[in-house]
């Protein structure tokens, strides 16, 4: 059943000039399954209110019926699920035809919410109740399940589709946040000075909360006409970050705005009075009532009572009255003396028949049968701001409006480092220290009268433009308001509570007082313990009153407590806007489509994709990998190794440079030769390896690991900048393609394609030649990584495809196969070559990796050398050894542990079954005692079974390196 329409508290009024709705465009929608109609220009809340729907939601904790409070995104009373989207704010979300709207956080619908019983139980639940109960190990699990079912607001649809939204970078000289009178004036002033201006406002239109004001309207028209002002309504400034970087969220996208200067014309947020049942539907802020009335022509009620504590209350009453709404009474918290600043308005109100009661306060609102407010008990206020409950009077009404004060919307200003101080006369925090390039104007700055707000905006706009390099401006401040727009304690105690301070979290005065009593008596601790201000509206309507309660309890001023830290987001932001399109760039070698054409099965390698193996019909993965290995061992194989980092270093001191960055000696490398290089960090840990080739006296070419290529190159650039040697580095990783063409037949197949003599004498193992292969200028490196006669062929990326096709064609009838990363892993392990990062970890040094053969300790200096001396003295903590498993059966997997005497004695770093060798082989990092023992060892396998293995020397395959040196080759 849908909520009752019994009360018909609100209703749509006749057309009026300036209304925002378009009555020619009716929009149908459903709420809780029932059909309703609104107009284009309505928000969801205004449309429902106009249809007389009494309450729109249930509260977070007690499931009390709730309706419009601020109508301005300063509370989260009206959170709805709209077309499956949870937690949509009805107050500010434009109505669209066909919307299907449900209340959130109910159990069985809005009207019959089973959880409303919590409102009755609630009296037994003190603040911190959750911390005090159900925590025994026995009961917590049950209770948690129940609790988690009750908490949370909207329901996420697990089937919602991801929609990529665009994101944009934006730039302007001056960003003005808030298009009220001061913001509009600031934008105009900045534009007049020559600045490019962006003016944003979360509302649907410019003007802020100011209601129809002719001079302001003229300024707004000017703003729209200005070519240098970009006006962006319905755009929230969600966060202010460093260096004037502001997140702007509209209904399409996130714009990351970089401004040279920012004007905060963010205004003030009207604060509720706190009294019993101040959350009943029909109790709302005066600004909410005025906005409903003037924009959407929704009558807030027929018999209205105003709770007042400032001039704005009387102005609101007059505005309501002018539109035919009857105000029965004005309950003013202030004495007649204190209210003199509204003297003229008071007299006008009185003349219209409104009863004005000074030094009175609301004591409790009364709910009618439909749950909405139907009356108010009020009474005289004593000097301690307490209502004498023996002198109560009752007045009936169908709406209760509150106009008792404001809080500065200083959150964005605080986020970018602005400081505030409490102004006692205004009873408001005002900007104190502003970061460079930021300016504040208008009511947030303590300037309240509309002409003054416009003047203050002009001042701030001109200053901002000047900061951005346009025009000059003086800093003659606009005087702050001399009246008191905010009451110092609009909070009325009640023994039965339900006087809500925080509507998001259902927190009452006593909840805060109890927390303070328990010692949570700083603003930060109070916030965390009571959760005041931690709900979706982030304290916008609760923080100030909570501070006042804490200040009263401690006998100090709110200024001595200070505001708690304000953090982004100002309003919550859907993740889709933050995520944007989610760009994901993948790196592909120039041979990518060649791999795809022959059945490559891809695997990620850093941000690259590489063929893991090539699938062929009739073969499974294992068979394909084995066949690829066989091709290399018996005929020839071709692998794309283009992902290796490829770097050139030129210059008279290039050799010296390499001698410093590599652990091995390289300066003495002969031109036309290559050498394995091991790179360490300053602590002596292995960070990279590769092959270094000497192209010329002053030119070297070397490779790095795939994963390390970017970081290694960047660090080498840094070292080069630091050392200032006479050399220069060139990163050709992406510009050069590379393949490894390996196998006993490789030379025979390559020779006809190649313009240099490949014979052993002319081009020995570890040599390098510049050559022409298949008509392409290439670098050929005789390498032995896979343990066969083989050549790495490096060509410009643009020619890679030709090279690949030529090689494939040449080997087609001779058993050539392209092989992938998996086969290469097998081949290299058969050779016992380590993979940095797999067989070594973040603390492995060359001693432990058995790689001291690649280290030139006698060199004058290399990175890691000094540490290595210390490590040598310390002795290895582990050693990399070859292992062999002869038994059949399930193998251990990489990272399974070696166990000796019940203790961890090492781990397997690489393991697989070698078809070539007919046994399982691997590498393991083991404790030194075990490495020395050379005996049997035990590995704990997948199911916990112990698998016998033994330590063996490496390489496992062709230990004399005869094949790669081609000694036995034909």
């Amino acid at each position: 059943m849908a909520p009752s329409r019994l009360g018909h508290v609100m209703r749509r009024l006749d057309p009026h000039p300036g209304e925002w709705i378009d009555r020619s465009l009716p929009l149908g929608f459903t709420f809780e399954g029932r059909e309703y109609h609104g107009f284009s220009g309505d928000t969801i809340s205004s449309a429902l209110a106009a249809e007389g729907v009494t309450y729109l939601a249930r509260s977070f904790k007690y499931h009390r019926p709730r309706s419009i409070l601020s109508f301005a995104n300063h509370d989260s009373n009206v959170l709805l699920c709209v077309d499956g989207v949870p937690n949509v704010r009805g107050d500010v979300t434009p109505l669209i035809a066909g919307m299907r709207i449900e209340a959130v956080n109910t159990h069985g619908g809005l009207a019959l919410d089973k959880a409303r019983i919590l409102d009755y139980l609630g009296r037994f639940l003190p603040v911190g109740f959750y911390y005090k109960a159900f925590h025994s190990r026995r009961y917590f699990a049950y209770w948690e399940r129940l609790f988690r079912r009750m908490t949370g607001l909207g329901q996420v649809s697990l089937h919602a589709v991801r929609r990529a939204t665009p994101k944009r970078y934006g730039f302007c000289d001056v960003l003005v946040i808030g298009a009220g009178p001061s913001g509009v004036a600031a934008a105009l002033a900045a534009a007049r000075a020559g600045a490019s201006v962006t003016l944003v406002d979360e509302g649907m239109r410019c003007g802020g909360s100011a209601v129809s004001h002719a001079p302001l309207q003229k300024l707004i028209d000017e703003v729209y006409q200005s070519a240098s002002i970009s006006v962006r309504p319905q755009t929230e400034a969600s966060g202010c970050y460093a260096d004037h970087w502001v997140a702007l969220v509209d209904r399409v996208r996130l714009t990351k705005m970089r401004a040279k200067a920012v004007v905060f014309a963010t205004g003030v947020i009207e604060q509720p009075a706190v009294f019993r049942n101040n959350d009943l539907p029909g109790v709302m802020l005066a600004t909410a009532a005025l906005a409903l009335l003037s924009r959407h022509r929704v009558s807030p009620g027929r018999r209205i009572v105003m709770i007042a504590a400032n001039l704005e209350a009387y102005e609101a009453c007059l505005a309501l009255s002018a539109q035919g709404i009857r105000v029965e009474a004005i309950i003013d918290l202030r004495s007649q003396q204190e209210a003199l600043d509204a003297d003229a308005e008071m007299q006008n109100c009185a003349a219209l028949g409104m009863e004005i009661l000074h030094s009175h306060a609301p004591y409790r609102a009364i709910a009618g049968p439909d749950g909405a407010v139907c009356g108010l008990d009020y009474g005289p206020l004593d000097p301690n701001l307490r209502v004498d409950s023996r002198k109560l009077r009752r007045i009936s009404c169908d709406a209760l409006l509150m106009s008792v004060g404001w809080a500065a919307a200083a959150q964005l200003l605080q986020q970018c480092g602005g400081k505030t101080r409490f102004c006692d006369s205004l009873q408001q925090f005002i900007p104190d220290e502003l970061p460079t390039g930021t300016f504040a104007a208008g009511r947030m700055n303590g300037v309240y009268e509309i002409a003054a707000r416009i003047a203050d905006g002009e001042r701030a706009g001109a200053l901002a433009a000047a900061h951005a390099g346009h025009g000059r401006a003086g800093d003659a401040p606009v005087p702050r308001s001399t009246r008191r727009p905010s009451h110092r304690f609009p909070i009325i105690d009640h023994p039965a509570a339900r006087n809500f301070v925080d509507f998001d979290e259902d927190l009452q005065v006593k909840d805060l007082e109890n927390a303070i009593q328990e010692g949570f008596d700083s603003s930060e601790l109070l916030k965390r313990y009571s959760t005041v201000g931690m709900g979706p509206s982030q304290g916008k309507h609760s923080h100030m009153n909570a501070l006042r309660i804490l200040a009263r309890a401690r006998g100090i001023s709110p200024g001595e407590l200070g505001l708690t830290t304000a953090r982004p987001m100002y309003h919550p932001v859907p993740m889709k806007y933050l995520a944007g399109r989610s760009f994901h760039i993948e790196r592909r070698t120039p041979l990518d489509s060649d791999h795809a054409a022959i059945g490559a099965v891809w695997m990620p390698a850093g941000n690259w994709r590489r063929p893991e193996y090539y699938a062929r019909t009739g073969e499974n993965r294992e068979q394909s990998v084995a066949a690829e290995v066989r091709a290399v061992r018996n005929a020839v194989g071709l692998i794309d190794v283009g992902t290796l980092g490829k770097i050139e270093v030129y210059g008279a001191q290039a050799g010296i440079f390499l001698d410093r960055v590599y652990a091995g000696r390289l300066a003495d490398l002969r031109v036309g030769m290559t050498r394995y290089g091991l790179m360490l960090d300053e602590s002596g840990v292995i960070v990279d390896d590769g092959v270094v080739a000497r192209l010329g006296q002053e030119a070297f070419y070397f490779t790095t690991t795939t994963g390390g290529s970017a970081t290694v190159f960047r660090e080498l650039l840094r070292l080069n900048a630091q050392w200032g040697l006479d050399c220069a580095l060139v990163n050709v990783t992406g510009h050069r393609a590379a393949v490894n063409f390996a196998g006993p037949l490789s030379r025979d197949i390559l020779q006809p394609l190649c313009n240099v003599d490949l014979s052993e004498a002319a081009f020995p193992y570890l040599a390098l030649r510049e050559a022409c292969v298949a008509g392409i200028a290439a670098r050929l490196l005789r390498v032995g990584f896979v343990g066969e006669l083989g050549y790495e062929i490096h060509v410009p990326a643009g020619r890679a495809h030709e090279l690949w096709q030529a090689l494939m064609e040449a080997g087609r009838t001779l058993g050539l196969r392209a092989f992938g990363v998996e086969a290469q892993r097998v081949l290299r392990l058969e050779k016992g070559h380590l993979i940095v990062g797999q067989d070594t970890d973040g603390l492995t040094d060359p001693i432990e990796a058995n790689a001291m053969w690649a280290v030139g300790m006698k060199k004058p200096f290399f990175i890691g050398q000094r540490s290595l001396k210390i490590l040598a003295a310390r002795g290895p903590r582990q050693l990399l050894v070859g292992i062999e498993i002869s038994a059949a059966g399930r193998l251990p997997r990489e990272c399974h542990l070696l166990i000796r005497d019940g203790e961890i004695a090492g781990r397997v770093t690489s393991i697989l079954r070698s078809q070539t060798l007919g046994k399982a082989i691997g590498l393991a990092m083991v404790v030194p005692e075990l490495a020395a023992s050379a005996g049997e060892l035990a590995i704990r396998g997948e199911g916990g079974e112990m698998i016998a293995a033994k330590i063996v020397p490496t390489p496992f395959y062709d230990p004399q390196l005869l094949r790669q040196k081609a000694v036995t080759a034909a």
Partner: protein
């Protein structure tokens, strides 16, 4: 819950700098287990206002090194009984913890951790992608197609807790046993005579004491500078963010190193999310938009249906990182000065065991056996602890 102490006494048997979880836990156990009640906890801000109140509350013991596993496992044991000890609901909620692997290399590390864990009696398993899908059916295993999940380390005891409440529980417990907690009291200097601590200078005057425990996370280098002690600690911000509350849909804690995401759903229904460390040194807890952008993007890669879920708030803490991603604890070269630092991104889960071991160390003057691998002199000896392999994304 705690009383306000208006008077700072001229001297105490021990002074603890920092009223975060670690400092308060040490005070609690000093008073409860070692009979040391003449103790002051000095806090420059407010109780639990540092990393204790800023972390993402994940508790686990699935570390890589035996030292780490034993230490955190003891912490997990202590966690179980804290609520009863404190008579305070900490919302200690065992959820199960998944560290997702998107590459074979990551999977190897998961297996390594699982094997070490199991060897030491800690419930961890390397699981495949199908298991992940069974346990978290709503996850997109392909992660939008660019980081397919190949498996995970599943750590059944992984839990979350209400972070602030831990500080309150220890604080109240210590307070009731006579420990004085002084907020808004900043230590500005440490007085040393002949290599021994004799007291601390504070914004409220000098306080004499023979024993000082420094438990100040991101402020550690500043305190050590006061003593002229050198430190390997470097401080980077660690950011986090939280969504609006939504109804329960996610039970386990999910961590992905490749996507730089960790996420859990709190008892209130909020998604509590974090990523990796900020890339440069900073001693300020500002938030950045790039963080919220990239984390949201990666969240949607895993859980594409969350696009409309709103981010409510972001914040940051200051992580005191160590070179081997293991903590730095125990006695120092200055007699009477004890260190509890280097917690980086993983300190919350260690709160109880730090309290236990540091109170022991403070009371006896000797390092507790569980923290012997964590002493500050290990760097000079090149005896690093080696959590680095597993802790690329810690927490």
């Amino acid at each position: 819950m705690f009383t306000r102490h208006d008077s700072l006494r001229p001297g105490y048997e021990a002074v603890i700098i920092g009223a975060g979880g670690h400092g308060l836990a040490a005070a609690y156990y000093l008073a409860r287990d070692h009979g040391m009640r003449d103790v002051a906890v000095l806090e420059k801000g407010y109780l639990g206002g540092g990393n204790t109140g800023r972390n993402t509350t994940i508790i686990r013991s699935n570390y890589l090194t035996p030292e780490g596993v034993r230490f955190y496992d003891e912490s997990l044991r202590l966690w179980q009984d804290l609520a009863t000890d404190f008579d305070l609901n900490l919302f200690y909620s065992t959820r199960g913890h998944f560290t997702l692997a998107h590459t074979d290399a990551a999977m190897r590390t998961m297996r390594w951790r699982a094997e070490v864990n199991k060897h030491l009696g800690v419930r961890s398993e390397a699981v495949d992608a199908a298991f992940v899908k069974r346990m978290i059916p709503m996850i997109d295993l392909t992660c939008a197609g660019h980081a397919p999940i190949v498996g995970a380390l599943f750590h059944e005891p992984g839990a979350i807790a209400r972070h602030d409440a831990v500080a309150w529980g220890y604080g109240r417990g210590a307070d009731r046993r006579g420990v004085q907690i002084h907020q808004q009291t900043e230590v500005t200097g440490i007085r040393v005579k002949a290599g021994r601590v004799v007291g601390v200078e504070t914004t409220r005057g000098f306080v004499a004491t023979p024993k000082v425990l420094c438990a100040v996370a991101g402020s550690t280098p500043r305190i050590l500078d006061m003593l002229g002690l050198r430190t390997p600690i470097y401080v980077h911000p660690l950011q986090a963010m939280v969504s609006e509350p939504v109804k329960r849909w996610l039970d386990p804690i999910i961590v992905s190193g490749s996507l730089h995401v960790y996420v859990s759903q709190s008892a209130r229904g909020e998604l509590v999310m974090g990523a990796s460390l900020d890339p440069y040194e900073l001693h300020q807890t500002r938030s950045t938009l790039d963080f919220a952008e990239s984390l949201s993007s990666h969240m949607l890669d895993m859980f594409p249906f969350l696009g409309e879920v709103k981010i409510n708030r972001q914040w940051a803490g200051l992580a005191d990182m160590s070179p081997d991603f293991a903590p730095i604890m125990g006695i120092t070269a200055v007699e009477g000065f004890f260190l509890d630092a280097g917690w980086g991104t993983w300190g919350f889960k260690a709160t109880p065991v730090c309290g236990k071991t540091m109170s022991h160390t403070l009371a006896t003057g000797r390092n507790h056996p569980l923290i012997e691998g964590f002493s500050i002199d290990r760097f000079a000896r090149y005896q690093l602890t080696g959590e680095k392999g597993a802790a690329a994304v810690g927490h």
